[in-house]
């Protein structure tokens, strides 16, 4: 078994490291190739495609040791059957539970140790279970399609003299610069490496490392058109807002590191079996928290409490700290997945080239937040889950409302991405673990599809992104229009139950079912069901609005329309591939392969609903299954309503959106201003930061330096006084003594007449005088 884990680790490591190798070669494309060379791009495609092959091989190898029959067991024929198997042991494929299956399905191991301090180890680990494999295959497949699409999309960079029409120089002309085809692909390779590393990571520290790396790739790709001020500003905003989330992430890391002393998810390595992984510490084998009062006792992964080696006392962590750690890690997810309140960066990130939006800002990187929330699920306490659910709920509603009024085709898609990510977060928050990640996968396919379609439209319209200038494009671009329709139907969740259903229908159904079950158990949290339900209608409305606006009706800009043309197979091919996956990847719904695969990785305890404490009941699989049909039906009805509304407004135009706009001018303005978040943050954070920065400089200048200058000046003053004292007092004293002596001598000068005869007289008189004195004073 160990050897299989090792083998999987190698296959995935190859898939993971190939793009890095590609990056190092491609980034120097300007040195070994010309601006007209496509070699670097092809290299990037080969790297990521090989990555897909490697992950497929790994998947097959994993399948070879997996007991598919056991998988079948808890995903049998009928739609509700999956939910009727609440046996936790069946789902906990993790280590300690020998009951799960005889065959181990998840593996962990170490590639390389970064540092070791006493018992504290930081390393590059891998953790492989079905979720890892599915994510690997999804990321590599979507990335391959997008890379191929980008071969065509970015081809206007294949020149020595690229003209950027959006940049106006000081002299009024447009910007001319060499093309940067190879650089785009090198960044894409770096991104693929980072994203795959994030998925492969076996410990939370390594997740953080790649978390930052995908952030910087996102920064580089958003700011790809470095000359555009809007692009570089958007890139900065994306990175800094993400850093705000990462700040929370670091706090979570600190708490975990301090109290658990390890970053590893699960520890299966037989060598260091004595040290359990993080999740094995926090949760018992059946997914319970070992909580007494305010303390959660850590487990040793063998069914006992972890004890301090020195005093044999059980090791515990305060419950509130565990909550704080969960919130902290989730804050990182909020930043990366553009959830409320950090959602503002994602729409701006659309400044990047469209393939970037498709890969980074819809399918993979932004979904990483959801992935981590899912991966880290065992750490989250019910309070944290509730927070996650509400954050998701707020986000999905806010973003959907803004999407209604957006007119830039990419921005509509961006808001829809935020909204869909909100759905995923909501699902995880209400313990619909599989539903959330299921939606993550399906969303990745249909959203990347739609972004690529929009890219195709944008190229076709010569870089026009405003839907208000499009219309009637389906005749000119049939493949794009058709594949886009597939995506729109998928995201709206339309289906004819029992006959045909696209992937989005299944995944959204699963989410709605979980939240309905949750609402049934916790009626005070009714918003968590009704808001997503309404938003399902809004989603259908704005997505069909987009499609009708763009592809149906009469051309709004005749001149633009005349130049529109369908793209070559390099760009339409990936659309078709992704459309197939968007339509059919989730076929079978809850008893389809994708769902069952994901369900295999589900943390212990969810199925039985046993992880809920603290007054919040989490639904069991059985309860979810019971309401599944109902929830699906409601959601479908609402989605149909939304579609009909869109048709009425933009299809047959029996209603005029302008009227509505006038009627609700205030609301409209509020939505167009994106709920004023940007302004609010500018006032709340950006401006104060600059003001405080000014203060710091002022303190340096005005207080510390002023103090120093004053001190030095005082020193100089003191020396001046000292000098004056010297000059006036001491020198004066010495001088005056001299002066007196001199004056005395001068006064004696008159005696010195130079006359010999006088001198004789003086001598004579002096002698007589001396004698007289002698006689007077010493008479004897």
């Amino acid at each position: 078994m160990e050897s299989i884990g090792h083998e999987l680790g190698i296959w995935l490591a190859v898939a993971w490291l190939l793009p890095l190798l590609g990056f190092f070669i491609e980034i120097f494309g300007g040195y070994w190739g010309t601006r007209l060379s496509k070699t670097a791009a092809h290299m990037a495609v080969v790297c990521i495609a090989t990555g897909f092959v490697c992950s497929s091989i790994a998947f097959v190898r994993w399948g070879a040791v997996t007991d598919w029959a056991a998988l079948e067991l808890h995903a049998p024929v009928s739609a509700t059957h999956f939910y009727e198997e609440p046996n936790a042991a069946k789902h906990s494929g993790h280590g300690s539970s020998e009951a799960a299956t005889a065959i181990k399905k998840s593996f962990s191991g170490q590639y390389y140790q970064l540092a070791l301090f006493g018992d504290l180890e930081i390393a590059i680990d891998y953790y492989i279970d079905s979720l890892t494999l599915v994510m690997f295959m999804m990321v590599t497949l979507v990335a391959t399609c997008i890379h191929i699409f980008a071969l065509g999309y970015m081809s206007d960079e294949l020149t020595d003299d690229h003209i950027d029409h959006e940049v106006h120089l000081a002299n009024g002309s447009h910007m001319h610069r060499p093309g940067r085809y190879y650089r785009f692909f090198s960044y894409m390779s770096l991104f693929c490496f980072s994203m795959l590393g994030l998925v492969l990571a076996g410990n939370i520290f390594m997740v953080f490392v790649f978390w930052e790396l995908v952030g910087i790739c996102s920064y580089l790709l958003i700011g790809f058109y470095t000359e555009r001020h809007s692009a570089s500003t958007a890139a900065n905003k994306a990175f800094i807002v993400n850093r705000v989330g990462d700040f929370g992430f670091i706090i979570g890391l600190m708490i975990i590191w301090t109290w658990c002393g390890t970053f590893q998810f699960y520890e299966y390595d037989s060598v260091s079996q004595s040290r359990p992984g993080l999740f094995q510490m926090v949760r018992t084998a059946d997914g319970q928290l070992d909580r007494e009062g305010d303390v959660v006792y850590l487990q040793d992964g063998q069914g006992h409490r972890l004890v301090n080696a020195h005093n044999q006392q059980p090791i515990g962590i305060e419950y509130m700290l565990l909550v704080a750690a969960g919130i902290g890690i989730f804050a990182g997810c909020v930043g990366k997945s553009a959830q409320f309140p950090l959602q503002t960066w994602l729409p701006d990130a659309m400044e990047g080239p469209t393939p970037v939006s498709a890969l980074v800002h819809s399918a993979t990187m932004v979904a990483a937040g959801v992935y981590l929330a899912g991966r880290f699920f065992p750490i989250f306490t019910p309070e944290v889950l509730l927070t996650i659910a509400y954050v998701g709920c707020i986000t999905l509603f806010v973003a959907a409302t803004i999407a209604i009024v957006a007119t830039d085709i990419k921005r509509v898609l961006a808001y829809s991405t935020i909204s869909q990510l909100g759905y995923m977060m909501l699902a995880i928050g209400v313990a619909g673990w599989v539903a959330g990640l299921f939606h993550l996968i399906t969303h990745a396919f249909f959203k990347s599809l739609m972004f690529l379609c929009s890219g195709s439209v944008i190229i076709g319209c010569h870089h026009e992104q405003e839907m208000t200038r499009m219309g009637g494009l389906w005749r000119k671009m049939p493949v794009t229009a058709f594949t886009m329709l597939v995506g729109v139907i998928a995201i709206s969740g339309l289906a004819i139950p029992g006959v045909i259903a696209f992937s989005g229908y299944h995944s959204k159904d699963a989410i709605m079912a979980t939240s309905l079950a949750f609402f049934g158990l916790n009626s005070s949290h009714f918003l968590l069901y009704f808001v997503p339900l309404i938003t399902a209608g809004i989603t259908a409305f704005y997505m069909f609005r987009l499609w009708f606006y763009t592809f149906l009706g009469e051309p709004r800009d005749q001149e633009l329309h005349e130049h529109v043309h369908e793209q070559s197979w390099v760009m339409t091919g990936p659309l078709v591939v992704l459309a197939v996956f968007a339509a059919f990847c989730a076929v079978g719904g809850e008893h389809g392969y994708l769902f069952r695969l994901l369900a295999d990785s589900e943390p212990a305890g969810i199925a039985a609903g046993t992880i809920g404490v603290s007054g919040i009941a989490l639904p069991t699989h059985k309860q979810v299954g019971a309401v599944h049909m109902t929830a699906g039906a409601y959601a479908l009805v609402v989605a149909c309503l939304g579609t009909l509304m869109a048709y009425a407004f933009y299809g047959i135009k029996i209603l005029n959106p302008e009227d509505v706009k006038r009627q609700f001018a205030g609301v409209y303005r509020f939505l167009v201003q994106k709920w004023q978040f940007d302004k609010l943050y500018d006032v709340m954070f950006v401006k104060p930061a600059h003001i405080i920065a000014g203060w710091c400089v002022a303190i340096d200048r005005g207080i510390i330096d002023a103090f120093l200058h004053r001190t030095v000046k005082t020193g100089v003053d003191v020396s001046n006084w000292d000098r004056r004292f010297d000059e006036v007092v001491i020198d004066g004293l010495v001088n005056s003594i001299g002066n007196v002596t001199f004056a005395f001598g001068r006064s004696l000068r008159v005696l010195q007449t130079g006359l010999l005869r006088q001198y004789v007289m003086f001598i004579a008189i002096g002698v007589v005088g001396l004698f007289l004195l002698l006689f007077v004073f010493f008479p004897k």
């Binding site: 004696l748 000068r749 010195q752 007449t753 130079g754 006359l755 010999l756 005869r757 004789v760 004579a764």
Partner: protein, 103 residues
Amino acid sequence: MGEIGLKPYLLVGAVLFVTGIVCMASKRNGIGVLMGVELVLNGANVNFVAFSRYTALGLDGQIISLFVIVLAAAEAAVALAIALNFYNNHLTIDVDRGNELRG
């Protein structure tokens, strides 16, 4: 005729001395001053000899006066040389004209 006694000698010495002093103080002629000096010295010599005869001084007084005579001769030689030089510089030997040492 008996002993003359000390007193008359001292008297003569004193007269010689005072005469010498007065001569020195009043004569403007350089040679006159020198003569005054000789008188003073010889006044002193009289005293020495007298004391040597009448007191316990013994021969010492006489020897000293011999010294004085020799010194006076030497001094006179030097002084005359000075006087000659003085005359060369000032074309006179009026000592009042030689007041270069005035302070």
